[in-house]
Amino acid sequence: MKILKQKWVTLPILWVVILAIWQFAAIIYGPEVIAGPIDTMKGAAELLEDGSLLTYIGISFYRVFVGWVLGSLIAIPIGLVVGKVKVIRVFVEPVLNFVRFIPPIAFITLFLVWFGIGEQSKIALITYATLFIVIINTLTGVLAVEEDKIRAAKSMGASEWQILVHVIIPASMPYIFTGVRLAMGTSFMAIVGAEMIAANEGIGYLIWNSRLFFRTDWIFVGLISLGLMGFITDRVVEWFGRKVLYRYGVIGSKAN
């Protein structure tokens, strides 16, 4: 059965099995409860035709991307400073360890009050979702930099700033990257929650709203879109890490 070890054999088999189970379940429970693969495809075609699916994907993705980039840009310097300066760390670490247990979704209502119903509140939410994961990973990375590297740099006349730029940042790159990559996952979770509660566009909105029309097939389209969006972005981020950050010891992995 050597042939079963080949990816091009196992993958199609896997998909056929999944589709079969899916279709079977749809027949048993009826299309109002579970939309089968064919219904879902028809639903997708509808949503593609009026352009709403791509718009929603685009909007959700835009929110995630902006918030994620913003969050990372804020979090990395904070993580570096907190990791490097012990006096600050003593104060900040307990706060971090408290706040990070509050899931982003829990902040939605508050952010609506603070930032209004528009784009700002959603982007703020994603920024928040990104912030703590990236801070904590960066901080861990800084603390993991070997003392010998810093000592070597000092003995070669590097200033504190040069040590930060030329030793600490490159040495903690694998940790920073892991944080940024994980944050992408939580960002997707957060955006769907936000769009369900307060949005009139986006994939979360699609999933939430389809319920009103009893369009289970559209809900399925939304779920599958989310899976694909997450999968593709993670692939891209992973590829970037493997190709661009390889020399920093960032190793790509397919598993999350």
Partner: protein
């Protein structure tokens, strides 16, 4: 000025040096190093020899400026050591933790020059010279993870040489290498030292290694409260022949010191 050449910039003078890692509070203080007195001349190859845990690394790290002394005096040239400086380069025991893994061989060697903003062309000239001196020509573009243990220590050596410190501090740099590589590295280090006129302080717990390399060997007693109990002059010429009768005589003398 010139009548006191022994006080040139790379002379190391240690007087009544004490070190304790205890936090200062009431009660007994446990000294790791107690009352160490030592003068190392510029250009000298000095070996610190002692049993494991006696405080060799501690003493070396104090000279490097990584670890603060508890009391006493520690001068390099005319100034008291209180922080790391470019006059004292360090070759660490673990190449993996001290080399910059994200930089290739050449970039590692040029690190200090780059920090000093030396122009690229000049950096390359210097790195070429020392990469070839340590026998790594042709490996310039490799990353540390692509090198053997011996090659990594060569990179460390080239890196400190390129930075042109007068003093090299080496903490068991060949301890993790296999016997054959170690032998080659010892020979090459000895050659490089004679070629470059550096002051070297070399830490080891291997008498054989100490005798192959050192002009003088400072023997440290077992810790805690370790001291430099004896300093042996090694009256043998370089390159040293470890099969010779003279070599074995000195070897036995030092060995008997530890047997007591």
């Amino acid at each position: 000025m010139s009548q006191a050449p022994q006080f040139d910039t790379n002379t190391i003078k240690i007087e009544q040096l004490y070190k304790s890692y205890d936090t200062p509070k009431k009660g007994e203080v446990h000294y790791i190093i107690k009352d160490v007195n030592l003068t190392i001349r510029g250009g000298e190859f000095f070996v610190l020899l002692g049993p494991s845990g006696c405080g060799k690394s501690t003493l070396l790290n104090m000279i490097a400026g990584f670890v603060s002394k508890t009391s006493g005096r520690l001068k390099v040239g005319s100034s008291e050591v209180d922080k790391p400086g470019q006059d004292r380069a360090v070759v660490f025991q673990q190449a993996d933790s001290s080399l910059f893994s994200w930089l290739n061989v050449r970039q590692n060697v040029e690190f200090g020059l780059k920090m000093k903003k030396v122009p690229k062309a000049e950096r390359e000239k210097v790195s070429d010279r020392y990469i070839s001196m340590v026998g790594l020509s042709g490996h310039e573009n490799k990353y540390p993870r692509e090198l053997s243990g011996g090659m990594k220590q060569r990179v460390q050596l080239a890196r400190v040489l390129a930075n042109d410190a007068a003093i090299l501090l080496m903490d068991e740099p060949f301890g993790a290498l296999d016997a054959m590589t170690r032998k080659t590295m010892q020979k090459e280090l000895s050659n490089i030292w004679r070629e470059t006129n550096k002051t070297v302080i070399f830490v080891t717990h291997d008498i054989h290694e100490a005798l192959l390399l050192g002009q003088r060997i400072g023997v440290m007693s077992k810790g805690p409260s370790s001291q430099i109990t004896d300093i042996y002059d090694v009256p043998l010429s370089y390159p040293r022949d470890f099969t010779s009768v003279e070599f074995n005589d000195v070897y036995k003398k030092i060995q008997s010191h530890f047997d007591e």
